[in-house]
């Protein structure tokens, strides 16, 4: 037999995960870009005034004049959905920002505190995490009363434990790491080590968590608004729109469908992007 070279093992070609499916990035990415545009310059996407009522034109089905139809007061649903993005998204962003900031500080404080204080903080986070976020937010709003600022505060409070727990766990890891120990041998102060090494290194999982958390915050904000706790009428807010549309559901499905769709798509897209980021970066150092 002549000595010929042959392949004993066929090269196993696996699709390289997410990079092979750019659609997963493209679709949610495009939707979130449109959303960002709606928040920044709503006039560009919908020319009509979201607050201009026209009783004559009430409950008009989707058509050339009103792409998404008109509501029971004759307001353009497209304009209201587009302008509503500003309310819903900014409440979500503000609440998430607040929750992340407070969560990081509290988690870091717990992770760096003497045991008794850490235990006290950690148990508080645990107890708060047992309550569903929306219930906790409702509780807070019930105390503070309705209004945009109060809703932001309520959602933030409900989300703080999630971030605080993750940061506390991260802090434990970083605090015991070789590079923190090495910094101690260099004679650096505790403050310098905590701000220079611990804080930047515990933030790793935050971008991913915050992206997913933002979706949850948008749901919470719509939920609270639906219950009349958020921005007050006639402001266009998705949850509030749903609440108003409820009574006309039999005659005008479009009044409820489009804000509902906006909420669903926003949350789905944020979650998809968040999960993708997670799969990409989980377990890696920044």
């Amino acid at each position: 037999m002549p000595p010929t070279s042959r392949d004993a093992v066929r090269p196993a070609v696996r699709p390289a995960g997410w990079s092979a499916v750019p659609l997963w990035w493209l679709v949610p990415g495009a939707f979130l870009a449109v959303l960002a545009l709606a928040v920044a310059v709503p006039g560009l996407l919908a020319a009509a005034d979201p607050l201009a009522a026209d009783p004559v034109d009430a409950l008009a089905p989707p058509g050339a004049a009103h792409w998404f139809g008109s509501d029971h007061l004759g307001r353009d649903v497209l304009a209201r959905v587009v302008h509503g993005a500003r309310h819903s998204i900014s409440i979500g962003v503000a609440a998430t920002g607040l929750a992340v900031t407070a969560g990081v500080l509290l988690g870091l404080a717990a992770g760096l505190s003497p045991t008794w204080l850490d235990e006290a903080l950690a148990r508080t986070f645990d107890v708060l995490s047992t309550l569903p976020e929306l219930l906790l937010a409702l509780l807070v709003v019930a105390i503070t009363g309705p209004g945009t600022v109060n809703v932001i505060f309520a959602i933030a409070v409900a989300q703080i434990p999630t971030y605080a727990r993750v940061i506390r766990a991260q802090t434990f890891v970083v605090r015991r790491s070789g590079y923190v120990e090495q910094a101690v041998t260099f004679g650096r102060s505790r403050l310098a080590i905590n701000t220079g090494h611990v804080l930047p290194n515990v933030l790793g999982p935050i971008p991913v968590l915050a992206t997913i958390g933002l979706g949850q915050a948008v749901i919470a904000s719509s939920g609270l608004s639906f219950l009349g706790m958020g921005p007050q009428p006639p402001a266009a807010e998705w949850g509030a729109m749903l609440s108003e549309a409820r009574n006309y559901l039999r005659v005008a499905w479009w009044e409820a469908l489009f804000p509902g769709l906006a909420i669903t798509l926003t949350v789905v897209c944020l979650t998809v992007v968040g999960r993708r980021l997670q799969r990409r970066f989980e377990g890696r150092t920044p």
């Binding site: 000595p3 070789g178 041998t185």
Partner: protein, 535 residues
């Protein structure tokens, strides 16, 4: 005589890059062949390819490839499965990874028996115990019911060997089987493998350690960059190496004989004379417990300027805890550490902090001691107490001192090799111009040639600056090469101490003697490990 495995011009590539570039090798029944090489030489891939385990994405080519007398290219996956375990047992470096953590050791071995149908169902439990007994596991009935994490490293490795020989294969392929083990345990495992060999099993041994190979192999292949650079009977290759690379490898092994030479070049080197009047660091009666366990128990030591104190001991002997006590990272429960005859332990951190730059650490895994976000330049600059303008220049000085090009400053440690990372760690520790360097297993993770470079660098630094060193290692050869005096630790206690040559040449304590006797000799001696000593 028909060989068990024959491969000619074996080539293995991963997505275009060649890892093995033309290796020819055969193993005859009952023979022990060793492949020696440093990491990246392709030795493991070669061994795995022989079992059809080169890995996903690999392309294996060869002019001829026969396993068990058949053409391996014609094998179906089912054929390969039958071969693995049945024809060749595989023993890997880390038994903790190779054994299923959720299954008992007994179940693991029984599975091999069931797969290869070598014992009827009713006899399997009994056979498992016989196998464990054969590999020298004490109290096999209890051990068979335990899971891998409940066993020590040595017992785990024995259990893994038991599963490899369960189907009584004519060949055992052992990839770095003793690398993760303590020296006394290593000696036991080598005796065990030698015993299997005496019983007629052929052995293909993969190792980076020439000494391990010398003690057991008939023939040795030296691999470098995917090629075999030298091969022949072990005795000839080690006693009269023909290839320059083999000679470098042999010369780079630190030992008593290399004390006054540079490992990389073989040139003589001067050793600084310790200044016995200048006591730098000292510990008296140091004791430290974790829970009920005394990890360090009544340990005293003194370190003078320009002196190297070796600390040897096996894992769990308290070496690293002693290092942490010396560094002031841990307070002793009893006893005291002094720096320049002034208190170093039991001080307020505020008072100790200005003194910390005097005592610096070089650890085994430099990557752990680097903030993952920082570049090399920033890492080296961290301990420097100089003005911002002078800092960059000082970083470049330090990089030059440890033999790294200035461009390294902009790179991330993850992009560097293990040896380069350890150089960065040394540059970093030198930054504050310390009086004491505590080196905790600084070369344990490195290949022998890289280890030689790092040891030479440490020696140069000591000569130049007169830095005192505490040098912790499990490797007696390394300690013998670098240290002036040595502490031998066992179970947290110092069992013997003194001048390094004295202690290793005439060990008084039985444990030191066991330790010294367990070290495999790089040059083959007439009395090799024989089957009679097999457990």
């Amino acid at each position: 005589m028909t060989s068990l495995v024959t491969v000619e011009d074996l080539r293995v590539s991963f997505t275009g890059s060649d890892v093995v570039r033309g290796v020819s090798l055969s193993v005859a029944p009952g023979e022990c062949v060793a492949i020696v090489g440093e990491s990246g030489s392709g030795k493991s891939v070669t061994a795995r390819a022989l079992l059809g385990l080169a890995g996903p994405g690999s392309a294996v080519r060869a002019a001829a490839f026969r396993v068990a007398g058949r053409d391996a290219f014609a094998f179906t996956p089912a054929d390969w499965r039958r071969l693995r375990g049945g024809f060749a047992g595989l023993v890997l470096q880390d038994a903790l990874v190779s054994l299923d953590p959720l299954r008992t050791v007994g179940a693991e071995i029984a599975e091999v028996l069931a797969t290869h149908d070598v014992a009827p169902r009713g006899r399997r439990a009994e056979r498992v115990l016989e196998l464990l007994e054969a590999v020298g596991v004490p109290d096999p009935a209890t051990r068979a019911g335990q899971r891998p994490h409940q066993l020590s490293g040595g017992l785990r490795q024995r259990a893994l060997i038991a599963s490899a020989i369960a189907a009584d294969p004519p060949l055992i392929i052992a990839d770095e089987p003793t690398t993760a083990l303590d020296v006394t345990v290593q000696a036991q495992i080598l005796r065990l493998l030698a015993g299997r060999r005496a019983a007629g099993t052929a052995l293909l041994l993969i190792s980076h350690d020439l000494a391990v190979v010398a003690s057991i192999a008939d023939r040795v292949l030296v691999m470098k960059d995917g090629r075999v650079v030298e091969e022949g009977p072990t005795r000839d290759v080690l006693a009269a190496p023909a290839h320059a690379y083999t000679r470098t490898l042999l010369a780079a092994v630190p030992s008593a004989a290399s004390r006054s030479t540079r490992l990389t070049t073989g040139e003589p080197r001067g050793r600084p004379t310790p200044d016995r009047s200048a006591q730098v660091l000292a510990g008296t009666g140091l004791t430290r417990s974790y829970g009920p366990r005394r990890v360090v128990d009544d340990v005293s030591f003194t370190l003078h300027a320009g002196e190297t104190l070796g600390v040897v001991g096996e894992s769990g002997s308290g070496k690293t805890t002693l290092a942490r006590l010396a560094l002031g990272l841990l307070e002793p429960d009893a006893g005291q550490v002094t720096l320049h005859r002034r208190p170093w332990s039991h001080r307020r951190e505020r008072e100790r902090r200005p003194l910390r730059p005097r005592v610096q650490l070089v650890s085994q895994n430099p990557l752990d001691s680097f903030d993952p976000r920082h570049t090399v330049g920033r890492l080296i600059a961290e301990p420097l107490r100089v003005h911002r303008d002078a800092r960059h220049e000082r970083v470049l000085d330090l990089l030059a001192r440890v033999g790294l090009p200035p461009e390294t400053a902009a790179r991330h440690p993850r992009e560097l090799s293990g040896g380069q990372r350890q150089r960065v760690a040394i540059a970093r520790a030198l930054g504050p111009r310390p009086d004491v360097l505590v080196c905790d297993e600084p070369v344990s993770a490195l290949d022998v040639s890289i280890q030689a470079q790092v040891l030479d660098l440490l020696a140069d630094i000591q000569t130049e600056y007169g830095t005192a060193m505490v040098f912790i290692s499990h490797d007696l050869g390394v300690v013998h090469h670098v240290a002036d005096r040595v502490l031998v630790m066992k179970d947290g206690r110092v069992v013997e101490e003194g001048d390094v040559a004295e202690v290793f040449a005439r060990p008084r304590h039985p444990y030191t003697r066991t330790l010294v006797d367990s070290v495999p000799r790089p040059v083959p001696s007439p009395h090799r490990l024989d089957a009679a000593g097999a457990a």
